[in-house]
């Protein structure tokens, strides 16, 4: 698990190499989860940066990589100063260089939000324009990232098909943004990262190598990231996200960003394989690639040697594969060596994936605290006795519908308090007979829940309020006589709890613990005393759905 905040790399260049006869690549990778004013902290910007750093280090033409996590504006500008100095030295010697600037984090139309700090896009653009690199590639994964292109008064590409440059130049600048100037960029809890960066990295690993020449160009990865990001975000609650590309490049030839064909290990998806493939680290279950593989196309994904898992879904069928990528080898993804699994157990996205409305069933078992009031005191005064009891069991079932991230609506039914009293009465012949009085109450109703998933959506604290009708049945038994009465009343309640959801394989299942306070004045007597059948309820439960 790539965690954020623990790595505060301020100057983490990969091992410097002596300049070669060719161009030297520099990269400044920035990931910031820090929220700006009025913003919520991001969950995966740091993970995005780590993934980008890894793919560039493994497959890119970058010789020096610096990564910053949660920096302030001064640290960013300081890093840019360092890069600018290095690029200036190379330029002075007549040597070519490539500079890649990558940012994942919060942004608004005017600035990158770095926590309490901000870096104005005007300033950033000016600094990037001033770089002495031969080619500068700017990649922004942030809300309204396309606004960077508006600084120069150039309209962003709304659709690559109308704006793509058929012949990319080899000098100048290119800016790839995760969304247009008016769109929001989105994270996916199931992917553990942003949609755009995930597909960008997957594309650089080889999924975007459309001509299968072993290298991925700027145009190829842009097309790939554009399509995949648009498809994935088109069904989210936030809405579609259009990756934009602005190029101001001069010269001939295409700009190569990665060379998966030169990787030391790779996963080979044969031409006949078709379906949705998800590849993840076997230990951490961190997703490294998600591809929609069409039949007839071969695909080679460059990965580090190690153990991986993969799931492949083909319609109603699904397969789970264990893979070991060896150094210097190309590993074939062979479904005949995989386990067929129940399709419902294999899905591409997790329970809190904001693009999917989902349903969950919750079953709870809890203990309710005993509540005494004037009603029960009257029973005691009339010589009824109750077994010593501090708590009583409470069972309920709820159906939860999550139409939007963090908000759920629930409908359910469950029991409230249930108690029994007895007293002995002496007849004229000294015989003893027992009278019993008992009741059972239950409720049905609706609740609204607000939740906030943390830690990869596996821990989900929540709060909810609910109300609805409650009903009770009292029963007065005296030898052969049983007198039952029905009572009705309202209930209202508030609860707080935490859900623990399973890992990616069982991400639609989990357990939870909850504390609730309910008031339910339902049962009354002829003295106009009403008993509150609610009280404090502490419960645990299971939840599952799709």
């Amino acid at each position: 698990m790539l965690t954020l905040g623990l790595l505060a790399l301020t100057a983490a260049y990969a091992a410097p190499q002596e300049p070669t006869d060719g161009a030297e690549g520099y990269a400044l990778i920035i990931g910031s989860n820090q929220p700006g004013p009025g913003q919520e902290p991001l969950q995966h910007a740091g993970d995005d940066a780590l993934r980008m750093e890894a793919v560039l280090a493994e497959l890119g033409d970058t010789d020096r990589i610096e990564m910053l996590l949660d920096p302030d504006a001064a640290e960013v500008l300081g890093a840019l100063d360092d890069v600018e100095a290095a690029l200036a030295r190379r330029s002075a010697r007549g040597e070519q260089s490539l500079f890649i600037f990558y940012y994942s984090g919060h942004a608004r139309a005017q600035a990158l939000d770095l926590g309490d700090d901000a870096l104005a896009l005007d300033d950033l653009r000016a600094r990037l324009d001033a770089m002495a690199s031969t080619v500068t590639l700017v990649v922004l994964d942030a809300c309204q990232a396309g606004a960077l292109t508006q600084v120069k008064g150039v309209s962003p590409a709304a659709d690559f098909s109308t704006n793509s440059v058929s012949r990319l130049n080899t000098e100048g600048m290119a800016v790839m943004a995760s969304s247009s100037a008016t769109e929001l960029s989105q994270e996916s809890a199931a992917l553990g990262g942003s949609f755009f960066t995930h597909h960008l990295v997957t594309g650089l690993r080889g999924a975007a190598d459309g001509d299968a020449d072993g290298s991925v160009t700027l145009d190829e990865v842009y097309r790939y990231a554009y399509h995949r990001t648009l498809v994935d975000t088109s069904v989210t609650a936030v809405g579609s996200q259009h990756v934009t590309l602005e190029t101001d490049l001069r010269g001939r030839g295409e700009m190569t960003l990665s060379r998966p064909g030169d990787a030391s290990a790779s996963l080979w998806l044969p031409a006949e394989l078709a379906g949705e493939a998800l590849v993840f680290h076997a230990d951490s279950e961190l997703v490294v690639a998600e591809v929609h593989k069409a039949a007839g196309e071969e695909m080679n994904l460059a990965l580090l040697p190690g153990s991986y898992g993969a799931t492949v879904r083909q319609g109603e069928r699904a397969f789970r594969c264990a893979l070991t990528l060896e150094e210097g080898e190309r590993t074939h993804l062979d479904l005949t060596r995989c386990d067929a699994v129940v399709a419902e157990a294999v899905t591409a996205k997790g329970p809190m994936d904001p693009r999917v409305e989902h349903w969950m069933v919750e079953l709870t078992l809890g203990m309710m605290g005993i509540q005494d009031d004037a009603y029960t005191e009257t029973l005691t005064n009339f010589s009824f006795e109750e077994p010593i009891q501090l708590f009583m069991p409470s069972v309920s079932a709820w159906l939860a519908w999550t139409p939007r991230p963090y908000v759920s609506l629930l409908a359910g039914i469950g029991g409230l308090d249930s108690r029994g009293y007895a007293r002995e009465m002496r007849a004229l012949d000294d015989s003893i007979h027992e009278q019993r009085f008992s009741w059972y109450t239950a409720r049905a109703g609706l609740a609204a829940r607000a939740s906030y998933p943390i830690w990869r959506a596996r821990i989900v604290p929540y709060a909810q309020v609910g109300a609805g009708p409650a009903w009770g049945t009292t029963s007065f038994k005296d030898e052969d006589i049983s007198d039952d009465e029905q009572h009705w009343g309202p209930w209202i309640g508030a609860a707080g709890g935490v859900q623990l959801m399973a890992g990616p394989r069982w991400r639609h299942f989990g357990v939870f613990a909850q504390a609730e306070a309910v008031t339910a004045p339902v049962i009354n007597n002829l003295f106009d005393e009403t008993h509150d059948s609610g009280g404090p309820i502490v419960s645990m439960g299971l939840r599952g759905g799709y």
Partner: protein, 215 residues
Amino acid sequence: MYRATMKRTVVKRASTAGLWLLALTLMGSESSCDPDLLGNPGFDLWCGDDICGWDVEAGEVERVSTWHERDFAAALVGDEVILSQLGDFTHDDADCLVFELLADVGEDAWLTVELDFLDDGIVEFSEPIVPESWEPIYLRTVPPEWYRDARVRLYKEGSGEVQVAQIRLRQEEDERWCEEEPLALTNRPEGAPCTESEECESGSCEQSGTTGVCL
């Protein structure tokens, strides 16, 4: 406020300290498992329109519901109502008595609990009660060292409403409540134990050592 009284003999208690009233609203230590010395203490047995096991010496008694339709009480109807029961217990059954009364006494009404040992019309114990509505009341007394045929009376006066849901009488187990002098009992029949001649109906108590017998 005028309060009517019946013409009956009320024995002056030998010691005013021999009788005391304790009105408690909650006595969780009281147990309904102890045997009742009275029958139908909860007034839930009715013989037609009449309450089983109780004598209506004056006025009328009607069955009414209390907190539940099935939980009955006896409503004492009229300006003067006397409800009594001859208990089947003697000095061998209880030497310290406690009443547990559950009633609702309205305005302009009074309720008195009486004990007539020997059922001879002489009331040895009489105590008015003013309970909170449907809050249990406990009355304790130390009966005579010798007695039989104890009649319990509930005496209602006034135009207000009185409903009685329970009247239980049992042996008090907590000896702390039983340290007072026993009630004095006169008019003892022949053969009854005695210590003074005034205790005997005949007026004669033949002493034999430390004990005596009424002649």
